[in-house]
Symmetry: C2
Subunit: 132 residues, 2 copies
DNA sequence: GCTTGACCTTCCAGTTACTGGAAGGATTAA
DNA sequence: TTAATCCTTCCAGTAACTGGAAGGTCAAGC
């Protein structure tokens, strides 16, 4: 299967698949004219990668997960640990973003949003009247 | 004030301040030997930038906010619009991350995390048994 | 056989917001 | 004078692609 069809199949842009090959995540065979030939196994791995990425795993996490996936003697504890570390980071990001959202929400609610220059948002960013 | 002291003062790394100068966010004067000289106004602007960044605004948003901040004839509606757009993106990110966290939480809870290879996390990523 | 359009290839550059490090000049304290 | 600590510029790297140029290939239609 050529890259265009493979891309359709797994729902990734062809560019992304080429990139994954470049960094060694998939290694499709090449046809006579140099076209990539994706096997069922390649498609399987690409699907695995697409789903891992959709869950927010980094490329290096994906690489580790893919290695474990292909290792019949893996320990599920290793997979779980990667997932737990990732979840910890996600939870932290959510907290950070929620704090930002909270502040922004407040500031937006306080701002008249008219044609006058006074603006509590700028006042907050300026901070001339605040300790921090 | 030299860059080291300025960095201390506003809580940004000197590298970051040099970068902000490079992209035109601050334009400190230069002393005889080429050292940057930060005025009170420069420090003010850097503080403004640091706080805007801490609220997650992009550099380009910061540039726009700084311009409005320095424009006495601004309309607060413009500031508010930038903040609202930013908040919308943050809320979207939070939703995305929460969806990931939800799935990860479930998968982690289902995984034995022992030395056996069976792993619902990998099964999910593999997806051989699922439609999607 | 030839053309046209849709494929495919590689390679280079750009994105975001810095960060690290090298090479070398300036300043200050001992 | 010498050592430590500044400061300068410039180059490269980060994460994960994405866009685009230049050029080869393939299948369909005339």
């Amino acid at each position: 299967m050529n890259i265009g069809d493979a891309a359709q199949h797994v729902g990734l842009p062809a560019k992304t698949i080429r990139y994954y090959e470049e960094i060694g995540l998939v290694i499709p065979q090449r046809g006579a004219k140099g076209y990539r030939q994706f096997s069922a196994r390649d498609l399987h791995n690409l699907t695995f990668l697409a789903r891992s990425r959709a869950l927010g795993f980094s490329i290096e996490d994906c690489r580790a997960l893919l290695t474990l996936y292909q290792d019949d003697s893996r320990a599920s504890a290793d997979v779980r640990q990667i997932a737990r570390n990732h979840l910890t980071k996600i939870d932290q990001k959510i907290s950070d973003l929620q704090a930002m959202a909270h502040t922004l929400n407040y500031l937006i609610s306080e701002c008249a949003g008219n044609d006058r220059p006074e603006c509590p948002i700028l006042t907050r960013l300026d901070g001339s009247d605040q300790v921090n």
